[in-house]
């Protein structure tokens, strides 16, 4: 693996991190204000569909983006109505939005375009294309032969769509809003102690709706990015549970913007591996070191924790070790023998690589997060006490 491979991997990580990051920050604003939002997924999906459809029909991707944001904000407002105004259960309203979006996007897409529940492929001028920075190389062959610095500049820095740069900018912006503005102070307060906000004479309802609206805008951008920048059109369930991974990243980041960036980059690295190495081949010995190593690490970690952690993570480690042994055993034959089999190359099943991000999320949430304290008033509607 040369340097360029790593640059490509980093490049893909950043690209795949953007929808996660936007969704994660969307959840951050909502949850920091005390509204749990499990409907990130549905909002992204609806936005992905509508922005692709509008981009296709109008030929203008900015109109598409606007439409995506619009539908996502609309769903957010519905969530807000259910959970803020009518003081309903926030999880149920979120789940409803997810089902609603998953079903309706496909049905409407079929009704409008009759292409099996997808939108037609977007022409290049109805998409967000990569921005080429001055002096950056664009042809793959040129990049391969360029100096490492040039490779980094051309591949990693340049060539992303404008939404990527915007998405990255939302991190410092979110941090600044949360910790340096009056609005941010009140937003954080309303998720921790709405009664303190209320008695200070500020409207809890208005603040929470503002937070939910911001959540909608960010989810809308995330969805539009998926269907108009990463892909050229909408396909069924194209968000691929990113809304839920974003929630996991949010917990991992303990509801802090810069940490959210880190968590999303980490999770997206696995998406990037899937994109960059769909047919990854590794020597058996490396596979074994990786699998058994992570098993040992997990067990060592679990031993310091509760009995239940030891059982769960320890069991998982045993499975990993078993897989490692099977991989080795599979390569052994009379001709080669046990030792030489270690240095055979094996193709890692693509299903395994595809499931890595999800697997990683489960492992992280199973115990590597540490103590994550959600906003205290999260999930509860605010009712004035008598």
């Amino acid at each position: 693996m040369d340097f360029f491979t790593f640059v490509q991997l980093g490049d893909a990580s950043v690209r795949m991190a953007i929808p996660l990051l936007l969704a994660c920050l969307a959840g951050l604003f909502s949850e920091r204000a005390g509204i749990f939002d499990i409907g990130l997924e549905g909002k992204m999906l609806a936005a992905a569909f509508l922005s692709a459809a509008v981009s296709f029909a109008s030929g203008n991707v900015w109109l598409g983006l606007l439409a995506g944001i619009g539908i996502s904000v609309l769903l957010s407002v519905i969530h807000g109505l259910a959970s803020i105004t009518f003081k309903g259960n926030q999880l149920i309203s979120g789940v409803a939005i997810n089902f609603f979006a998953a079903g309706l996007t496909v049905v409407i897409a079929q009704g409008w375009f009759a292409q099996g529940g997808r939108t037609p492929s977007l022409p290049n001028d109805a998409r967000f294309n990569g921005l080429d920075f001055p002096g950056a190389l664009t042809r793959f062959r040129d990049k391969m032969q360029a100096s490492p610095g040039m490779q980094f500049y051309s591949e990693f820095v340049s060539g992303h769509s404008i939404l990527v740069y915007l998405g990255l900018l939302t991190v410092p912006l979110s941090w600044w809003i949360l910790y340096r503005t009056r609005f941010g102070l009140r937003l954080r307060a309303v998720g921790e102690a709405p009664e303190a906000v209320d008695t200070a004479g500020i409207s809890v309802v208005r603040l929470r709706f503002a937070a939910v609206a911001i959540c909608g805008i960010l989810c809308g951008i995330a969805g539009a990015y998926l269907s108009t920048a990463v892909q050229a059109g909408f396909t069924k369930d194209m968000t691929a549970n990113r809304g839920f991974i974003a929630l996991a990243a949010l917990i991992f980041a303990k509801w802090r913007p810069w940490h959210a960036l880190g968590a999303c980059l980490l999770f997206s690295l696995f998406f990037a591996i899937d994109i960059q190495f769909p047919r990854l081949e590794l020597r058996v010995v490396w596979i074994m070191v990786l699998l058994i190593g992570s098993g040992v690490a997990m067990t060592a970690y679990a031993l310091r924790k509760d009995k239940i952690d030891v059982i769960v993570l320890g069991g998982l480690s045993l499975v990993l070790a078993l897989v490692a042994l099977l991989a080795w055993r599979g390569e052994m034959s009379d001709e080669i023998g046990a030792i030489a089999a270690l240095f055979e190359t094996v193709r890692v099943p693509s299903q395994l690589i595809q499931s890595l991000p999800y697997l990683f999320v489960v492992i992280v949430l199973a115990g590597f997060v540490g103590k994550a304290i959600p906003p205290r008033a999260g999930g509860q509607p605010y009712v004035k006490e008598r």
Binding site: L185, A196, A200, I202
Partner: protein, 513 residues
């Protein structure tokens, strides 16, 4: 006097919640630069009245005048603008914010925080010297004690330029020493010309620091008098509507054999915090041991262990035989079978099931009693109902209707249902937690009499209460808990509130003398 406009004047305030008339045509005048007490039983409408003044509720009728000006208060923002600040019983603070951030919240100067925080920091410094309200502006709320948190609430009001300060039951969470400190601060505020309204049900506080006092009963204003013209017995009578005995009437105890012997009890909770640290004590038959302490110093855990729903290490002997603390018999059922009855601290969550009827509640925990069984398989509801009816009659539960859900009784009557259930079991040991929390004075008198009567039958009683007056009046011996330890034991007639207060604040036994 008459040429100065009152700081606050309420005229004909009425407020109803559904069929309940919380405030009935209430008028009150509070002169500037005075401390005005409002006293009344729970549910008398004190808090409702103040919530109307602070813009939390809208009055159905009536007018508010601030410094002689008719003022509409549709929301808290308007109340703050009118110079009213409120310190709630349950603090309205953001726990993981700093003191500074809490003070600034809602009173920021602009869209950006930095200038507001800088200004508030300067302001806090001058308020601190002016009113002796020292608080570290960068401390996080959850790291500082309740006394400090209360100061932050007062600072919040002062930072918003409040001239009128309303305090709702401010001493409920404080040690006596902290309460004295609070009163000094209030005195200081009064000197500076602030007007203070103190809502409380503690007669002593009213007598100690107020200039005038208003008495409320069942939503009505009974009287407003100068504090110097009245006395506690008079106030109590006006609150309840009849003569009340403020002191518990009892003969000296006749302690006999040791019933409960607790030896070196320890609890460490999930977070690794040591909740009980080597607690040892004894309770004899025919005596009441009172455990005093500010809430949260291990008394609840102690009751939970004894009641059988918390595990602990150590040894507990009941009538000389050990009690199972961790094994198969360490549950409430086994405890009751051994003759331990328990009136839990939190009657609404631990003592009763609020949505169940009174008669069902009178049998909880004792369903296995043969007299409640039929054919050994079915519950004999008719028997339970009849039993409940008798109990409710004996304990003067009002209304005496066993078919009513527990939540429809007042606090005092709910407590009587619990006390009736536990005392009527003829236990060897009665555990009582906060028997009169949220209970009106009339019912307090009755419940105290029942506890003393049980003692006189030769039963052992362990009383846990955060009300020092109750502990002093009811106990035959007093143990003080602080930070999971017993700081010392005293006899009620050989100690005073000051000494107990020092022990409650963590002073060592020798130092507190």
């Amino acid at each position: 006097m008459s040429d100065i406009a009152p700081a606050i004047e309420l005229v004909g305030i009425s407020k109803a919640f559904g069929p309940v008339q919380a405030n009935k045509d209430i008028s009150i005048r509070v002169m500037p630069g005075t401390i005005h007490g409002i006293i009344g039983e729970n549910g008398a409408g004190k808090s409702t009245l103040m919530s109307i003044l602070y813009g939390f509720y809208k009055a159905d009728a009536g007018e508010v005048f601030i410094s002689g000006q008719k003022t509409e208060i549709p929301d808290s923002q308007a109340a703050i603008a009118a110079g009213i600040g409120m310190v709630f019983q349950h603090f309205k603070l953001v726990k993981n914010f700093s003191v500074l951030e809490n003070v600034v919240l809602g009173a920021e100067d602009g869209a950006l925080l930095r200038p507001s925080l800088a200004k508030a920091r300067k302001q806090l410094k001058s308020l601190a010297t002016e009113y002796e309200l020292n608080v570290d502006p960068d401390a996080i709320i959850e790291d500082i004690g309740v006394g400090m948190q209360q100061r932050v609430e007062i600072l919040k009001a002062l930072y918003r330029q409040a001239d009128i300060l309303i305090l709702d039951e401010p001493t409920g969470v404080l040690t006596p020493a902290e309460a004295d400190q609070l009163f000094r601060i209030l005195g200081r505020l009064k000197e500076e010309g602030k007007t203070i309204i103190l809502i409380t049900h503690k007669l002593r506080e009213i007598m100690d620091i107020t200039d005038t006092v208003s008495v409320m009963r069942r939503g009505e204003m009974m009287a407003t008098v100068k504090t110097s013209d009245t006395n506690p017995a008079d106030l109590a009578e006006r609150m309840v509507g009849r003569k009340v005995l403020l002191r518990v009437d009892k003969v000296p105890a006749q302690p006999k054999d040791v019933v409960l012997d607790v030896r070196d009890l320890n609890i460490t909770d999930d977070k690794g915090v040591h909740r009980l640290k080597g607690v040892s004590f004894q309770v004899r038959a025919g005596e009441i041991l009172g455990i005093a302490g500010v809430s949260g110093n291990g008394q609840s855990e102690l009751l939970e262990v004894l009641g059988g729903y918390e595990k602990a290490t150590g040894e507990i002997l009941l009538n000389g035989d050990p009690i199972d603390l961790t094994g198969a018999y360490s549950d409430g059922q086994s405890r009751r079978a051994r003759g331990i009855a328990h009136v839990p601290e939190d009657r609404q969550h631990e003592g009763l099931i609020m949505d169940f009827t009174a008669w069902e509640n009178t049998a909880f925990g004792y369903h296995h009693d043969p007299k409640y069984q039929r054919n050994g398989l079915l519950m004999d509801n008719a028997a339970i109902l009849k039993d409940a009816q008798e109990k409710m009659g004996r304990f003067d539960v009002r209304p005496p209707n066993p078919l009513l859900a527990a939540k429809n009784f007042s606090g005092g009557n709910q407590q009587k249902i619990v006390v009736a259930r536990e005392i009527e079991r003829d236990p060897d040991l009665l555990l009582v937690g906060q028997p009169t929390r949220g209970v009106d004075i009339g019912a307090i008198e009755f419940i105290h009499q029942q506890i003393v009567a049980l003692r006189d039958q030769g039963k052992a009683i362990l009383l846990v209460s955060v009300e020092l007056e109750e502990i002093m009046g009811l106990s035959d011996r007093i143990a003080v808990m602080f930070d999971g330890q017993i700081m010392g034991e005293r006899l009620p007639d050989q100690t005073n509130e000051k000494e107990l207060g020092l022990l409650m604040a963590g002073m060592k036994d020798g130092e507190a003398a």
